[in-house]
């Protein structure tokens, strides 16, 4: 018993002693996010809870995605060019030092690539960006690195954005909990599960940012995050919910879009008229400004305007219940079982929209208007993820819709199009016929190999085909996100704010 | 009556208990007084209100539901009913103290006896070290052996008599003027009773304190008190000098009460066991040992307790065999082992020549019909959830072939009448009856299967004197009608004298003496029997 008491007292002592000052000094900011990090390594560059702390702040890559225009911009590499053999040469920025005092050299770049793309470590850049690509990095001279890929990657400068450049001191075969990088901020402390502190790096190669110290904390309740800015416990709160938002809060168009996948394994969803009717039946505009943020916009393709490849010429399925009913009648006449009960699955407890339950209820009511009976089933995440794989489709199941969202983190439409429409992906939605599948695969592959305007044209063509002819989904909205900031700071959110908080863009009042 | 001013006067005291069930007038206009150094006995049966007036002296009535509606309790010139908390503190324990019937439940089980004695003094501003020294002294005075060693023991480690001695030590710690003793010996064994009474007498002689002695036992009152108050249904029916009142009671109820008391001079049954008759039940070498507890390594802690050692005896048809012994003598174990309610370690019980210990299942159930049991506490032995009909019919419901289902109610009603209850009462629940009536129900249930042997395990011990006599009469009558044998287990020797044919005396699990009642009572052979009988005489004088 004495032991228990002493453990408890010790715990209490630790908890009470570790009291970080909340009232921030000038130059210090506190940022509250919805979720905390599990790891602290650039390896996890796609896990937003980790990446938003480290990327651009502690860790930098050769390039950076232009947050507004898309495409690659210089960071640790000042320039790059493609050789005739398809490999790329990156010129390194001179005079850059890592936080441990060692200089940025081609060797460190090679080391970083080897580490991040090591199968055994299973890092995000390997899984998300370079899967199926052989990568070889080598030093050419003291300030140039050659990166060779097989197959040739026309958008490699964009892809290398995901590979953080770390010094040789970073452990090779395990994840680090004390990351070192070249960024404007030094990783200072990770108070296991309560906060992460970054302080300004005195010897940063670039312009000195205004914020001297940043503390990241996390709360999962949106209302709590909002309240923390109000009472001065935080300077910036991410993902404020629609209901708590007020006029002074900042809104931004995120790179995320919401959609409802139509699995065409079961009739009547194998009839394109039914899939079109699903689109026509939804009065998406009616929800904007009522249930949804007034600045939210209608989606019509898998990527938003900030992504390379976005095609502004694609149309919209405007609300047209008459057309929807006509299409359904036609389909019914052709033998499609329109009356089958339809099941829509979504992830339990997650919220693509602030009031997702109500949005789904509204959609179901609208479909009911045209005679489709849909019920929503919220699945636990693990179950959801296995249910959406084609190999797991039950041949006897009801026609199924999947409420889902998609976030393009690369700035290039290729990743989105390939994973959502190419038959090699286990969760993609495909045309009804084998010929259609073959044609679409070929189109996508040609786009992936192309660059520049050609690439943009092919991706645009693929997305137009999907929208006008294949109709594998109901396009919903390009999402808007809300952040709340205190009066102490100035911050303009951009489409990548959900993934990256670039502390250098924060200025103080 | 003495001319001296009374130490304490109760005047016109009335107490009501207000419950949701209505108002019970527990005490009505009761007056009595006690002189300094005097012993006053308050006598009455359960529900007579004899304890209520004395509880009021120390303000121990639970209020609510109790409410004092009239009267005064004068202690000197102070009305004890009007004291505030701090005045009360100066009286309780210091000037007036009290001991209770059940010495186990009167001691806090969680605290050492020493601390409980000391506390009685420290609360009255006696310095702790003095109090401790005096507590030790007190414990020795009341006869706790090795008092210094046992100072830190807990109540459960003492025997019943010792606990009552500790209670007395607590009560006399501050040298009170008055001790209220509420049935202080009723829960104790005969020999212990005599010792405790002697102790109280000695203390009184030494300190000169007055004692108010509440009891249901007229013999105890006779030898212990100089004045007596007899109560019935909340009122005083008779009061005066003890010898006077007991010799010439005026009131009807008082006469009946005194008449029902066991008469120490009652004639002894002249039963002689007829030779050569086949026994109904033969018990041979019945033994039962409760093994000592073992610690986690399997080592025994303490010793095994032999509750029953090689008990052998016979019961003839139509015979009353009484088993007497003090608590812990193994008499209840004998009853349970005999009925196979508890497994014996060895030995045999033969009913009509069939060994019960070798039977099982339906065969055993068949034999059970012939042997039934009546327990001590009729409240506990009757299920509160069943109606009397269900209780009386339970044997027939279990043994479906005895009485056809359709006739069970009528048969039960006949049984009710047989045990002296009205047939329409069969629809009630047990708690709606008085204690004596409940025991009649229990007897009815035991008789339902027309058994040939009924074991009565202290079947009348919990009952008031007058009720006790009625139940014994009933048993005698039933025995005559039905030809029953009784195995009657009791600690009350006085009762055995008039009721038994045969007596078995038990001590520490062993039968020390067995014989016809007149032999055992008039010519006891075993020293233990002799000491038991001597205690009985000391009590009744």
């Amino acid at each position: 018993m004495r032991m228990l008491i002493s453990v408890a007292t010790a715990a209490l002592g630790v908890a009470l002693a570790a009291a970080p000052a909340l009232a921030a000094e000038p130059g210090e900011v506190v940022i509250v996010a919805p979720a905390g990090p599990q790891t602290m390594d650039g390896c996890q560059s796609n896990v937003s809870s980790t990446a938003r702390i480290l990327k651009q702040n502690v860790l930098e890559a050769l390039t950076i995605v232009d947050p507004v225009k898309g495409g690659a911009a210089p960071r640790l590499a000042t320039s790059w060019e493609q050789s005739a053999d398809g490999s790329w040469l990156f010129k390194l920025r001179p005079g850059v030092m890592f936080h441990d005092g060692t200089p940025l050299t081609p060797e460190t770049v090679v080391y970083s690539f080897e580490r991040m793309l090591d199968k055994a470590l299973g890092c995000d850049p390997f899984i998300f960006v370079f899967s199926g690509v052989e990568v070889k990095a080598e030093a050419v001279d003291a300030e140039t690195v050659r990166i060779t890929t097989n197959p040739v990657q026309p958008i490699l400068p964009l892809m290398v954005e995901s590979v953080a450049i770390v010094p040789l001191a970073t452990p090779r075969n395990e994840l680090t909990r004390a990351p070192l990088g070249t960024g404007p901020y030094v990783f200072t402390n990770w108070d296991t599960q309560t906060s992460v502190t970054l302080t300004r790096a005195p010897s940063y190669w670039g312009e000195m940012p205004a914020v001297t110290k940043a503390t990241f904390i996390w709360r999962s309740e949106a209302s709590v995050r909002a309240a923390m800015v109000d009472v001065g416990e935080a300077d910036l709160a991410l993902s404020i919910s629609e209901q708590d938002a007020r006029d002074t809060d900042l809104m931004y168009q995120s790179a995320e879009m919401s959609r409802i996948k139509i699995n065409n394994d079961q009739p009547p969803f194998n009839d394109v008229r039914v899939r079109k009717a699903l689109n026509y039946a939804l009065d998406r505009r009616a929800l904007i400004g009522t249930l949804l943020n007034p600045r939210i916009t209608l989606a019509n393709q898998i990527v938003g305007p900030s992504v390379f490849g976005y095609d502004p010429a694609i149309g919209q399925y405007e609300y047209d219940p008459v057309e929807a009913r006509r299409l359904l009648d036609e389909a019914r006449a052709a033998g499609a079982p329109i009356d089958r009960p339809i099941r829509m699955i979504s992830i339990a407890g997650s919220s693509t929209f602030a009031n997702q339950d109500e949005v789904i209820a509204a959609f179901i009511a609208m479909w009911k208007q045209v005679g489709l009976s849909v019920t929503n089933e919220a699945l636990e995440m693990g179950l959801f993820r296995s249910s959406i794989r084609r190999e797991n489709f039950d041949p006897n199941r009801n026609p199924t819709l999947v409420f889902s969202n998609h976030d393009n983190t690369t700035g290039d439409a290729g990743m989105s199009i390939f994973s959502k429409y190419h038959s090699s992906n286990g969760t993609s939605d495909l045309p009804d016929t084998p010929e259609g599948i073959k044609a679409m695969d070929a189109l996508i592959e040609s786009g992936m190999a192309a660059v520049g305007d050609e690439r943009r044209r092919i991706f645009g063509e693929a997305m137009r085909l999907e929208h006008d002819e294949i109709v594998p989904e109901v396009w919903l909205y390009y999402m808007v996100n809300i952040v709340r900031k205190s009066d102490r700071i100035n911050y303009e959110p951009n489409p990548r704010t959900s993934q990256v908080i670039d502390l250098a863009t924060i200025t103080l009042n | 009556m003495n001319a001296a001013a009374p130490l304490l006067r109760v005047e016109n005291l009335s107490v009501e208990f207000r419950t949701a069930a209505g108002i019970t007038r527990a005490v009505r206009n009761v007056s009595w007084s006690v002189l300094p150094g005097q012993t006053l006995a308050i006598i009455g049966e359960s529900g007579s209100g004899k304890s209520v007036s004395s509880s009021a002296i120390l303000s121990l009535l639970p209020m609510p539901p109790a409410r004092i509606t009239s009267g005064r309790i004068l202690f000197g010139d102070m009305d004890l009913l009007t004291l505030d908390a701090s005045q009360r503190h100066d009286i309780n324990g210091k000037r007036i103290s009290m001991i209770f019937q059940d010495p186990l439940s009167s001691l806090n089980p969680l605290r050492t006896v020493g601390s409980q004695v000391v506390e009685a003094m420290t609360t009255h501003e006696v310095p702790r070290d003095q109090a401790q020294a005096r507590a030790l002294d007190l414990l020795e005075q009341v006869g706790i052996p090795n008092a210094a060693l046992r100072f830190r023991d807990y109540p459960h480690q003492f025997s019943g008599g010792q606990r009552q001695r500790i209670m007395i030590a607590i009560a006399i710690a501050m040298g009170p003027d008055l001790l209220v003793a509420d049935e202080p010996t009723s829960a104790l064994d005969l020999t212990v009773q005599a010792d405790i009474l002697q102790l109280l007498r000695d203390i009184q002689k030494r300190t000169g304190m007055a004692i108010v002695f509440i009891t249901h036992d007229i013999n105890v009152a006779r030898q212990f008190s100089s004045a007596i108050v007899i109560m019935n249904k909340g009122a005083v029916v008779e009061a005066g000098a003890t010898a006077e009142v007991l010799a010439r009671p005026q009131d009807d109820y008082a006469r009946r009460l005194i008449g029902a008391a066991p008469d120490p001079a009652a004639p002894i049954s002249a039963y002689r066991r007829p030779p050569g008759r086949a026994p109904l039940c033969r018990v041979a070498n019945l033994s039962k040992t409760y093994p000592a507890r073992r610690d986690f390594l399997g080592r025994r802690k303490g010793t095994d307790t032999a509750a029953l050692k090689n008990a052998s005896f016979d019961i003839l048809p139509d015979e009353v065999v009484c088993v007497v012994g003090e608590s812990g003598s193994g008499k209840s174990t004998l009853a349970r082992a005999l009925l196979r309610l508890e497994a014996a370690d060895s030995g045999t019980v033969e009913m009509d020549g069939r060994n019960l210990m070798a039977l099982d299942g339906d065969a055993l159930r068949r034999v059970r019909r012939d042997m039934q049991i009546v327990f001590q506490d009729p409240t506990a032995s009757l299920s509160p959830h069943l109606t009397v009909e269900d209780i009386v019919c339970e044997p027939w419901n279990v043994h479906g072939d005895v009485v056809p289902a359709a006739e069970r109610r009528a048969a039960a009603e006949r049984l009710m009448e047989l045990v002296g209850l009205r047939r329409e009462q069969i629809a009630l629940h047990a708690h709606q009856f008085s204690g004596g009536q409940r025991q009649r129900i229990a007897i009815a249930r035991a008789l339902a299967l027309k058994p040939r042997l009924v074991v009565c395990d202290e079947a009348v011990s919990a009952l008031d004197v007058s009720v006790r006599a009625q139940i014994l009469d009933l048993l005698t009558e039933l025995r005559r009608q039905m030809g029953l044998s009784l195995l009657f287990i009791t600690h009350d020797l006085g009762l055995v004298r008039a009721f038994a044919n045969r007596v078995i005396v038990m001590r520490r699990g062993e039968i020390v003496e067995e014989g016809d009642v007149q032999d055992v009572f008039l010519a006891p052979r075993h020293p233990y029997t002799q000491s038991l009988l001597a205690s009985l005489e000391r009590l009744v004088e």
Partner: protein
């Protein structure tokens, strides 16, 4: 005492006696009336209000309580798509009640059975049951919930099972303790002396003695199960839309606490009142079920 008095009272008399008991106890009467209302809502709610509860009306969004426009349905306010809180409350009474009742009933049935075995048998069976009982105490409810989602595949069924299993240990322990105690009572020994079989003893003596305790426990557990169900909804594995329950409504309304407080206030209040009423009525029932205490009610 006459024949007529001792005759078994008819249903009419019983009901009248019951009403008389309630009339003299305003607190208990209110609790009883409230529970009646909840049961009525559970029976009549879905058929009468299912449509209006789900009707989306953007013109009637976010109405505060006491709105009589556009209709009395909006007395308790409405949510962000104009569904009236009152109707939703009435409709979800059924599933709320069913989930907690069925869950606790399952739990009680299994718990009492196992508890009886453990209490009567002793030995290996008892030891095994009690060890599993201890293990259950530390078994994470969440894991159970997710596991069952794989097996049962329906959220309501899962919730019921999860809640049932999570309360199982309590019922086992209480039943075992009571059984062990009652088994030692003298009237049970008396029954054994008569020759009664264990089945008879269990039926006639043990169960009636257990019932008052179990009734109280049952009522309290129903109340706490409603709360537990709401917590499951909060972390996203409870009842899921389009299913409805008070717990889910409270959980859904949490994002609106600063603005539309009534969305979670009313269902929360309904749960609290149900819990309180159940406890009050259970105490009354406990008294009524004990023949020794019953007279207290007849005053």
């Amino acid at each position: 005492m006459t024949e007529t008095e001792t005759a078994t009272p008819g249903l009419r008399q019983r009901v009248l006696a019951g009403l008389a008991i309630l009339a003299s106890r305003p607190g208990a009467a209110l609790a009883f009336l409230y529970l009646l209302a909840v049961v009525a809502a559970a029976i009549a709610g879905p058929p009468f209000f299912a449509d209006s509860a789900e009707a989306i009306d953007f013109k009637a969004r976010n109405l505060p309580p006491l709105s009589l426009e556009p209709s009395w349905h909006y007395l308790l306010g409405s949510d962000s798509i104009g569904r009236p809180s009152l109707d939703r409350l009435l409709v979800s009474a059924r599933s709320t009640l069913l989930i907690s009742l069925v869950a606790v009933a399952l739990s009680a049935a299994a718990g009492v059975l196992l508890g009886l075995v453990a209490g009567l048998r002793g030995g290996f069976a008892a030891a095994a049951i009690m060890r599993v009982c201890d293990a259950l105490m530390s078994f994470p409810t969440l894991l159970l919930a997710i596991l069952l989602l794989y097996v049962v595949k329906s959220s309501v069924g899962t919730v019921v099972l999860v809640l049932a299993v999570s309360r199982l240990a309590l019922f086992i322990r209480v039943t075992r303790a009571e059984t062990a105690e009652v088994r030692g009572r003298v009237y049970v020994t008396a029954s054994r002396a008569i020759g009664a079989r264990p089945g008879w003893i269990t039926r006639v003596h043990l169960l009636p003695a257990l019932v008052p305790t179990l009734v109280t426990l049952f009522a309290v557990e129903v109340a706490f199960t409603m709360l537990a169900e709401s917590s499951l909804s909060f972390i996203g594995i409870g009842v899921q839309p389009p299913g409805v329950s008070w717990g889910l409504m409270v959980a859904q309304g949490r994002d609106y606490l600063a603005t539309q407080w009534w969305l979670s206030f009313w269902p929360g209040l309904a749960i609290v009142l149900t819990a309180l009423s159940l406890v009050v009525v259970a105490n009354l029932m406990k008294t009524a079920l004990d023949p020794r205490q019953k007279w207290r009610l007849q005053m």
